[in-house]
Every structure is written in structure tokens, then in C-alpha cells.
């Protein structure tokens, strides 16, 4: 089975038009043309006539759930969601950032998405090994079956085997590359704090210039703030201009959280985020 991106695009246009015309949605978050085929852009359709600008192809990686929190409460929003993106929506609902009844989820079942920088297929590496949206109202195509489902954590094996010296050296080298452009947090659907802790002056948590120690503080704290919340879309890593594999660290934290708390982020709107929750019988072993 192959995915027809063109077909998804057509369905996306049809649904967007219908929703805008009927007033069921006042904005549709989807994808639009960029300067070339490999660089589509996030696109917001507000009028039925905008719909012609919508595109969908294998480079439409953006997690459009990122933009949900920008609209005033009560705005009716339709949003195109791939598998990981739907998890971001679920997580935002859990965090009471958006309301389920304000959203129309246009689910996109898809595999074979590509990283425009490397041409690499990103499924399984960064999208949690899922192909079908976890939550949707309208599915734009048939559910994907028969694809090899990889564990989202497989890619971690090599890093978990490293001894701590090698791991420290690896991350130091990566974090030292960071130029503090904050594209990672801008791309992330779960990074909605205003101000971000790193922009605060009182207290000043870490240096703002791109030096080792400020970078370390920024990244370790960001990983912590995303614990139990990162839904493994991989957008932070793809947004990074210097290609720091942030997704590896996020995945590691996600894996530990899943093991310790028995729940993965953004899988059910009934869940509470793992770190604003507890069980009386949580074991002290998790602290060892």
C-alpha cells in the first residue's frame, strides 16, 4: 500500500472548505506552499477562498497543534493532525489549554514522512511508531495497516549502552553547539509558557548567552518540563539549525516516565499528566 499525498490534500481541502463555509470552524490549521516543494509552511485558512492554498506532501512535518494555544478560548478551530500531532492535542486537552468541543480534528493517517534536510524517513524514529491519529473527528483516508511498528524507544539502545563518561561527552558536545535561537521551544506544541523560565531575570536560572553552562541549564530544565508531556513528534530536533538530537533525550525521559508511571503522554483525554498526578502506592524504587 502506498500513501497518496495528493488524495490527502484533496480531502483536506474539501473538509476545510466545508467547515469554514458552515461556520463549524473559524480557522483551519493546515499546511501551505513554501518556497519549494520540500519546504511547505504552516498555514492558517480563515476564508473558504483560502482553501486553495492548502497543500499536503511528505514534508508537512509541522505539528500544527503548536498553534492551538494562540487563539482566544472559545475559538472554533479545525486542525490537521498526524499521529503524533493528535497526541499533542490530547495532551493540551489534559492540560486544560484547549477544549475538546472547540476543536475539529482532521486526522491524517500517514507514513513515509520525510525530513527535508536529510531526506530520511522519519516514521518510527521520531513519531512514536504510530501511523494513525489517536484522536480525530474526520479521518482523511483509510487507516494505515501493515506497516512495521517499531518501538519508539528502539533508537535509544546505543545511547543507553554508553558509559556515563561517553554520554556526558556526547551531550556536552551537542549542547555546546546550541546557539540559543529557541527554535526548539517555538516548534514544540507543549512549550507554551510565557515567559519561558530561561527568559526570566528574577531568578535568573541560567546564562542567556550561548555558552556551555547556560545551554546545559536550558536543555536539562526543558527536558524536565517536558517530562510526561513530550509526545515525540520530533519537531524540536527538526527545527534545530545545528541538528542537536534533542528527541533522543526527550525519548529517554518519556521512556522512563512510561515505565515509572505506567502512562505515555497524550494517549487518552481521560488521563492526567503524569507529573501533576501521583499514586499513593508509587514505589520509592523510582528514586533509586
Amino acid at each position: 500500500m502506498t500513501i497518496s499525498f495528493k488524495q490527502i490534500e484533496e480531502k483536506l481541502k474539501t473538509e476545510a472548505k466545508r467547515l469554514l463555509e458552515s461556520g463549524q470552524a473559524s480557522v483551519v490549521l493546515a499546511y501551505g506552499k513554501g518556497y519549494d516543494e520540500k519546504h511547505p509552511m504552516p498555514y492558517v485558512a480563515r476564508n473558504p477562498s483560502d482553501v486553495a492554498n492548502i497543500v499536503f506532501n511528505e514534508y508537512c512535518n509541522y505539528n500544527m497543534a503548536r498553534y492551538l494555544v494562540r487563539y482566544p478560548a472559545g475559538t472554533k478551530i479545525a486542525v490537521a493532525v498526524k499521529a503524533a500531532d493528535s497526541r499533542a492535542v490530547i495532551q493540551l486537552i489534559q492540560e486544560e489549554k484547549v477544549k475538546r468541543e472547540d476543536l475539529v480534528l482532521l486526522g491524517i493517517p500517514v507514513y513515509g514522512m520525510k525530513n527535508p534536510k536529510t531526506q530520511e524517513i522519519i516514521d518510527g524514529k521520531t513519531t512514536g511508531g504510530l501511523y494513525n491519529p489517536v484522536l480525530y473527528d474526520i479521518l482523511l483516508g483509510d487507516e494505515v495497516h501493515g506497516q512495521a511498528i517499531q518501538s519508539p524507544y528502539d533508537v535509544l539502545a546505543a545511547y543507553e549502552l554508553m558509559d556515563k563518561e561517553a554520554r556526558f561527552a556526547f551531550w556536552k558536545k551537542e549542547f555546546d553547539k546550541c546557539i540559543r535561537c529557541y527554535a526548539c521551544r517555538k516548534a514544540c506544541p507543549m512549550c507554551y509558557c510565557d515567559p519561558c523560565f530561561i527568559d526570566q531575570n528574577k531568578p535568573k536560572w541560567g546564562d542567556k548567552s550561548p555558552q556551555s553552562h547556560g545551554n546545559l541549564m536550558y536543555h536539562l530544565t526543558r527536558f524536565h518540563h517536558l517530562a510526561g508531556r513530550c509526545i515525540d513528534c520530533g519537531e524540536c530536533s527538526r527545527a534545530c539549525p545545528v541538528d542537536i538530537p534533542l528527541y533522543l533525550f526527550h525519548k529517554k525521559v518519556a521512556k522512563e516516565c512510561e515505565e515509572m508511571f505506567g502512562q505515555a503522554a497524550g494517549m487518552s483525554i481521560e488521563d492526567k499528566p503524569a507529573l501533576v498526578n501521583f499514586r499513593v502506592d508509587d514505589s520509592d524504587k523510582i528514586l533509586e
Binding site: L216, A227, V276, D284
Partner: protein, 138 residues
């Protein structure tokens, strides 16, 4: 000169800090490497405190709170337990020696336990040597 580690202790007001007081009033001996900061509850501890402590030169960080079920705000340490467990995993994956960070539940009546934990933890940090990975070099 032998290595005398600097250890940051963060203790909740109601149990561990009071336990430390008890250790003092009962004249228990324990190493003087620990500097204790008092917070109202273990759930007050922002994980960035811990990262920052290591950056500012702590060789170890010891967190003390009430036993689960005994938190004076009922559920504070139940949240803290999950949060600090994540902190530990993050420190570990970043390559810091996991033995440099520890969480202990010590009640107000456990002066003995406080002294024992500090003694043991200090010995452990001594054997790990100075913490240089996170420390900001001057």
C-alpha cells in the same frame, strides 16, 4: 589535603529539617560537609535548584522530606517523589554520576536516621571525588 566535598541539603521544614535539629540537640556526630537549606515542603523544590547547585559547584545534593503519607500538606511529597525521580533520570542520562543525587524520607523524630544518611552520603561523595562535569569553570 583530603577532599572535603560540598554537599547541598534541601530539607522540608516539618520533617527532615526538624529531624536535623533533633540530631543536633541529641549531639549526634555527623560530617560537616552538608549545608542545609530549608524549604516548606519537598514539593517546593524546583528541579532547576538541583541543576543549578551542581553548576555552582556542589559535589552532591541530598533532598529530605517527610515520609510519604506524612507530608504536612498531605500530598506534596507524593508529587515530589515523581518529580525528583525524573530529575534523577535526567541527571543520569546526561552523564552525571547517579550517586551524587539522593532523596530520603526522614521524619522529625528520626535524628538518628538523619545523622546516618548524612554520614553515609558524605562517604559516598568522597569516594566519587570532586564533581567537575556540571561545575562552571572560572
Amino acid at each position: 589535603m583530603s577532599f572535603e566535598p560540598k554537599i547541598l541539603g534541601i530539607a522540608c521544614n516539618w520533617c527532615t529539617y526538624t529531624g536535623a535539629d533533633l540530631a543536633g540537640t541529641t549531639r549526634l556526630q555527623y560530617p560537616q560537609n552538608l549545608r542545609v537549606v530549608r524549604v516548606m515542603c519537598s514539593s517546593r523544590i524546583n528541579p532547576s535548584f538541583i541543576f543549578r547547585a551542581f553548576q555552582l559547584g556542589a559535589d552532591g545534593v541530598l533532598i529530605g522530606g517527610c515520609h510519604p503519607g506524612d507530608c504536612h500538606y498531605n500530598t506534596g511529597n507524593l508529587y515530589a517523589r515523581r518529580r525528583l525521580a525524573v530529575t534523577k533520570k535526567i541527571l543520569e542520562f546526561s552523564g552525571l554520576e547517579p550517586g551524587r543525587f539522593r532523596v530520603e524520607w526522614i521524619s522529625a523524630s528520626e535524628g538518628n536516621k538523619f545523622a546516618e544518611v548524612v554520614t553515609e552520603f558524605t562517604a559516598q561523595i568522597k569516594s566519587l571525588g570532586p564533581q567537575t562535569k556540571f561545575k562552571i569553570s572560572q
